[in-house]
């Protein structure tokens, strides 16, 4: 244990903070940062998914399209929101909002907070992988600025399904991972109990992502974590969102889209 064990324990603390039940969720940020948020509903195909929400809202008298993964606070809300794990309908609703944002030239702000897309038989039958893949294409080519803010858990393809954009911001105690540590431990060690080691090995903290060049900015949280002061956390997030939006809106659309393509193109490039 010793050194490695200490590091792993510190990483696990970050995982627990990112999942803290009192942590502000997407709607807490949305209501604190924006005015006039109007939630739109439904994917126009099958249903309305409450694990992904979205709609137009105003920020400094301009309209922004908000897309967010929303966890529930109470037992009944957790059930209603499926613990923040979206079905295909959530991703297809998000796609509808991306298209709408493009049509009306609304910048997109996406709040990521999910342990992953819902692993269910119905989700597979209705093409969860297809829905996510379509979003990756649409977001990578959308002709409007896109800011992604990870507020809690960024879990796998389920997070990426609303998470492709021009800038990736992460709250200080948020995490983002190719798979949740439990899933990774189950796959690689065939033992969920190895989740602490898995969490450390995956390099999933905001600081890790910044170091890897994947996250652009870490937004500081109040001492002990965002759950201790929603106002301070939201103010810090709002300031960062305003600054990045202003910067992105000054970039010509062709260049913006090309730079977004290159942003992903160079991850893992060997040349």
């Amino acid at each position: 244990m010793s050194d490695n064990g200490t590091v792993a324990a510190a990483t696990w603390e970050q995982v627990e903070l990112a999942r803290h039940p009192d942590r502000p969720y997407a709607l807490d940020y949305v209501h604190a940062i924006f005015n006039n948020f109007l939630e739109l509903h439904g994917d126009r195909v099958f249903g309305d998914d409450h694990a992904i929400i979205g709609g137009p809202a105003s920020l400094d008298s301009k309209t922004i399209m908000v897309i967010a993964q929303q966890k529930g606070r109470t037992t009944s809300e957790r059930a209603m929101r499926n613990f923040g794990m979206a079905n295909p309908e959530g991703y297809r609703k998000a796609l509808r909002l991306v298209r709408q944002a493009e049509r009306f030239k609304f910048p997109i702000v996406a709040f990521v907070d999910t342990s992953g897309a819902f692993p269910g038989a119905g989700a597979e039958e209705r093409g969860i992988a297809w829905a996510i893949a379509e979003n990756l294409v649409a977001l990578s080519a959308a002709r409007i600025p896109i800011l992604t803010l990870v507020i809690g858990e960024g879990g796998s393809g389920g997070a990426l399904g609303i998470g492709v954009g021009d800038r990736l911001l992460m709250m200080e105690h948020s995490i983002y991972s190719v798979a949740m540590p439990e899933a990774c431990a189950s796959i690689l060690w065939r033992d969920i109990a190895r989740k602490v080691e898995a969490a450390e090995a995956l390099k999933l903290t905001a600081a890790d992502l910044k170091r890897l060049g994947l996250a652009d900015e870490i937004i500081p949280e109040p001492p002990g974590g965002a759950q201790n002061d929603y106002g301070l956390a939201a103010d810090a997030a709002a300031a960062a969102l305003r600054r990045h939006l202003k910067n992105l809106e000054s970039i010509d659309t062709e260049r913006l889209v090309e730079e977004r393509y290159q942003r992903y193109r160079r991850i893992g490039a060997t040349a």
């Binding site: 893949a133 294409v137 994947l214 393509y261 193109r265 991850i267 060997t270």
Partner: protein, 241 residues
Amino acid sequence: MLVEPGSFHEEDQAITATDVLGFTDSQPYTRRIEQSRASTGANEAVTWGEAMLAGHRLVLVALDFAFMGGSMGAATGEKITNGIERATQGRLPLLIISASGGARMQEGMLSLMQLAKTSAALGRLAAAGVPYISLLTDPTMGGVTASFASLGDVIVAEPGAMIGFAGARVIQQATYETLPDGFQTAEFLLAHGMIDLVVPRAELPAVLRQLLDLYAPNGAGPELQLQRPIQTAAPAPAATR
């Protein structure tokens, strides 16, 4: 081999995985890479290049399940993206043959981001009007299904191939659901509208020829006579919910 003998010219043969994160599970990632390289003779879980198939020049990208379960790391994603971009630039039809367990855990977020990278490249291929045939073999799961594998203009799968996002074991652990017979098989996906064709390997050359003829620039042309209609598996009865 599907392509005309001697027509395949492999690219990026030297590109190989690197252990950026210093990842160790039951053994170091570097050792896993060495073992896969030794057992497969390849440097990565994907091979790509230009080839001729049924008189059409195309870009062929093939994943190899024997190399770390066909998992997608950064080098895998890089080679796939290079193939897609070659197809876009050369206006060559693209055929990707998938076989993968999904993202490669040992490369963490660098692996996950390959989903975005390959999908973005396919968005440009589609915008350029270049056709993409996705061939799904057993198994095609996880992040590979949630990116390039499901983005084909035409999606073909081999009979009985397991195709999906979350694995059956994960779904059962999460939901305690009883999974329907044939869950996540190619035939199941055909019945649910997720793929176009289920084609046995022996019939693949004929089907690919027909697809390449039909999707060639300006279409098949008036002279083309199809030898016989494309064979597809009999659709399973529509699922009742």
